[in-house]
């Protein structure tokens, strides 16, 4: 049954120390800024974070890392011009890093939600990221075996939810939202609007409500100019 939280603080309250938390977004698009801020205030620590990046500037995920609350991060692209907090922790040996090609990251998250035990992917074969992984030739093509990435919680951002928990997204802000919501035991989603059941076109629903546990309405989410992050 859908939980409609009164605040981001209430939404993230169940996140426990040591939890694996997926955080949606690619760049600023789809980044659940208010939920991440609530997680910072919440205080949970020793977290494993799954995100495409490892934080930018001094806010959001970067701030969470700066505060020493992230034990381990699984991402595709940690190093950026403004990932200084991650860089510092990493060089100091204070954060574990698992680098995963972006498509394998998305597919491993999808596999977790879809009950797939493991899958053979061509991406990464023959590269340093395949080291220690089972390789196999199938039908003349080379693959490596990748395993699902599950999470205890996911924090994502969608555009509109209905009271059945169904979600629609906006443009490229969709990115990791649908697969992360499905891969997490408890999925927490911030949306700009909540409508009644029947208020979304059933043909256009992207994330069915079965994947959504908690929704919190943030009518005017923070919108950074994408350029600021470059």
């Amino acid at each position: 049954m859908l939980n409609i939280a009164d605040s981001c603080a209430q939404a993230v309250a169940p996140i426990h120390d040591g939890a694996t938390v997926m955080i949606g977004g690619f760049g600023v698009a789809g980044q659940p800024v208010e939920l991440i801020d609530a997680l910072i205030d919440h205080g949970a620590t020793d977290l494993t974070v799954v995100n495409n990046n490892a934080g930018n500037g001094d806010v959001g995920l970067a701030r969470l890392i700066q505060l020493g609350r992230v034990r381990r991060i699984i991402c595709s692209f940690p190093r950026q011009s403004d990932s200084w907090h991650f860089d510092e922790k990493y060089r100091a040996g204070q954060i574990e890093l698992e680098v995963v090609p972006q498509g394998n990251l998305a597919e491993r998250i999808r596999a977790a939600g879809a009950g797939i035990g493991a899958f053979f992917t061509p991406t990464g074969y023959g590269t340093p990221l395949a080291e220690g992984k089972e390789a196999r030739e199938i039908d003349g093509r080379h693959y490596i075996l990748e395993h699902p990435i599950k999470a205890d919680f996911s924090l994502t951002k969608a555009h509109v939810a209905d009271r059945a928990g169904n979600l629609v997204y906006r443009k490229t802000a969709r990115n990791f939202g649908p697969v992360m919501a499905a891969a997490a035991t408890t999925s927490i989603v911030q949306v700009a609007e909540v409508v009644e059941r029947g208020g979304l076109d059933p043909e256009a629903v992207v994330t069915p409500g079965i994947y959504v546990d908690t929704v919190v309405r943030i009518a005017d989410p923070a919108q950074t100019d994408p350029r600021e992050e470059l």
């Binding site: 690619f26 760049g27 600023v28 698009a29 789809g30 595709s76 692209f77 940690p78 190093r79 950026q80 860089d87 990493y90 060089r91 890093l97 680098v99 995963v100 090609p101 972006q102 498509g103 394998n104 998305a106 597919e107 998250i109 999808r110 992917t121 061509p122 991406t123 990464g124 074969y125 023959g126 590269t127 340093p128 990221l129 080379h142 997204y169 906006r170 443009k171 490229t172 802000a173 969709r174 990115n175 990791f176 939202g177 649908p178 697969v179 992207v206 919108q223 950074t224 100019d225 994408p226 350029r227 992050e229 470059l230």
Partner: protein
């Protein structure tokens, strides 16, 4: 190589090509009606030379087909960016999908062509473009490996030489690989190279000759047929 002599390699420009000029050469080689991913950085210039008649559809791996040009001013929508995190526009007939669907599209071989930058490419089409291999570097791969192995054709667009003058087309990549045997063509400021089963051919040169090129590149070259 029998009948072909080195003279058969056309010098199609008297000077090396600037990135914009090279982008035009790449664009000319993309078949009409193709679905194409232009990665980030220099290859994105190619889109400037694709016309409406080419009917080329651009893919951006963060979840869109039918990506339009860069957005400016009031057109900027923070929810609509490309893989380089640059704000872009829609085109009529575009569509959105999530990350797993987007990379499935790429991995499944549905994109006709992908254009990438590179640190090194070797004679077998192996690509190194994500990691210099320096021991203190923080590894970061993004979508590079998925792009390299996913498309039907992977083109590389790069300067032929490093700032120190070393050829980036090499006998065997020394930097960590991005993908194995994935590159089919290399577009450089000095020449266009074709990676073939049994060797590397030169299709055209820019501001240089086949012989001069062979001086720079430590891989046996031959004229393209």
């Amino acid at each position: 190589m029998s009948e072909n002599t080195v003279d058969t390699v056309p010098r199609t420009s008297e000077t090396p090509l600037a990135p914009e000029e090279l982008a035009r050469v790449v664009a000319r080689d993309i078949p009409a009606g193709s679905y194409v991913n232009l990665g980030i950085g220099q290859p994105t210039l190619v889109s400037n030379y694709l016309s409406a008649e080419d009917d080329v559809t651009l893919h951006t791996e963060n979840g869109m087909l039918g990506m339009g040009p860069e957005a400016h001013g009031d057109e900027v929508d923070p929810d609509l960016i490309n893989a380089g995190k640059i704000p872009v526009l829609e085109t009529p007939g575009c569509s959105y999908f999530h990350h797993a669907d987007s990379f499935a599209m790429m991995r499944g071989g549905h994109l006709d062509c992908c254009v990438l930058g590179a640190f090194q490419v070797d004679r077998k089409g192996n690509l190194a473009n994500w990691h210099t291999g320096k021991p203190d570097a923080i590894p970061a791969v993004g979508g590079a490996m998925d792009l390299a192995t996913g498309a039907k054709m992977t083109f590389v667009m790069m300067s032929l030489q490093t700032k120190k003058g070393q050829s980036k087309l090499v006998e065997q990549c020394t930097m960590p690989l991005t993908g194995v045997g994935c590159v089919s063509r290399i577009y450089t400021d000095q020449a266009v190279f074709l990676i073939e089963e049994d060797g590397v051919s030169v299709r055209e040169t820019f501001g240089t000759s086949f012989e001069e090129l062979q001086q720079i590149v430590d891989v046996p070259l031959r004229p393209a047929r």
